[in-house]
Amino acid sequence: MNSGIPLEFYLVLATVMFFTGVYGFLTRRNLITMLMSVELILNSVNINFMAFNRYLFPGKLEGHFFSLFVIAVAAAEAAVAIAIIINIYRRFTTINVEDVNQMKY
């Protein structure tokens, strides 16, 4: 039934998405957009999990649940990250990552 779409398609799509996220993480200077890049990365991973589960282990649910948990973690992560970002904004009045470098040395 899925014969028309090989597993590799999903994987390649996820890979592209992942590295787009990486690119965003490396280039974006705004913390919120960096967070969005991270969401992309997480999402691409989820796609992989789901595809693997469906194609390779259709009788099991590991990939499925893993994705579910990843989404939960992502939600938690987003909440905390945004809390931090807001706090940083209060303190430095900017959310530009290059201006937040007090942790060096």
Partner: protein, 176 residues
């Protein structure tokens, strides 16, 4: 071409285009909206894979929850009309090179590997099964990760509140 393949193609194009837009758009709200599109398209992929429950979760949690959260924070911290300055060319080129190199490595690896099964029965998973195994303690049960995630979520929520609380507790105390 089957309908599924067409759907997949559409979703794939949406994902790629909006992913790129997410990371390149110079207006932050547009980036957020692009992210939303990516997430919705991903939910579509889950439908294609016949995981309706996950697709629903994806839309409600991701598209509905996280993106809204992000948009709120954008509203709190940035001006909507603000346009980012251009990225340094050097930085962009090197990052792109790294990303492309990574992608090439991964993709070649994927394509060189032959997966044992590429056709599967696309049976839908019963909601009962999901609910039961989520709370089951046996070998196929996921109650432990479930509980851990619950605790994590609680901790994250409390942490988020504490971190985001305005000012230090000393300042808030009224002078005696």
């Amino acid at each position: 071409m089957e309908a599924k393949q067409i759907m997949f193609a559409i979703f794939a194009i949406v994902i790629v285009v909006f992913s790129v837009l997410t990371v390149t758009s110079r207006r932050i709200l547009r980036a957020a909206v692009s992210l939303l599109m990516v997430l919705i398209a991903t939910a579509g992929l889950y439908f294609l894979l016949n995981y309706q429950f996950m697709a629903a979760v994806q839309i409600t949690l991701y598209a509905g929850g996280i993106v809204v959260l992000i948009i709120f924070s954008i509203l709190l911290t940035s001006q909507i009309s603000h346009k980012f300055e251009r990225i340094e060319t050097k930085k962009a080129i090197f990052s792109a090179l790294a990303a492309i190199a990574g992608a090439v490595v991964v993709i070649t690896t994927i394509l060189n590997h032959s997966f044992s099964a590429d056709t599967v029965a696309a049976a839908e998973i019963d909601m009962h099964v999901i609910g039961r195994s989520l709370l089951e303690t046996g070998p196929d049960g996921y109650v432990l990760p479930f509980e851990v995630i619950s605790v994590l979520l609680v901790a994250a929520m409390i942490g988020a509140i504490v971190i985001a609380k305005k000012g230090s507790p000393h300042k808030d105390e009224p002078a005696k």
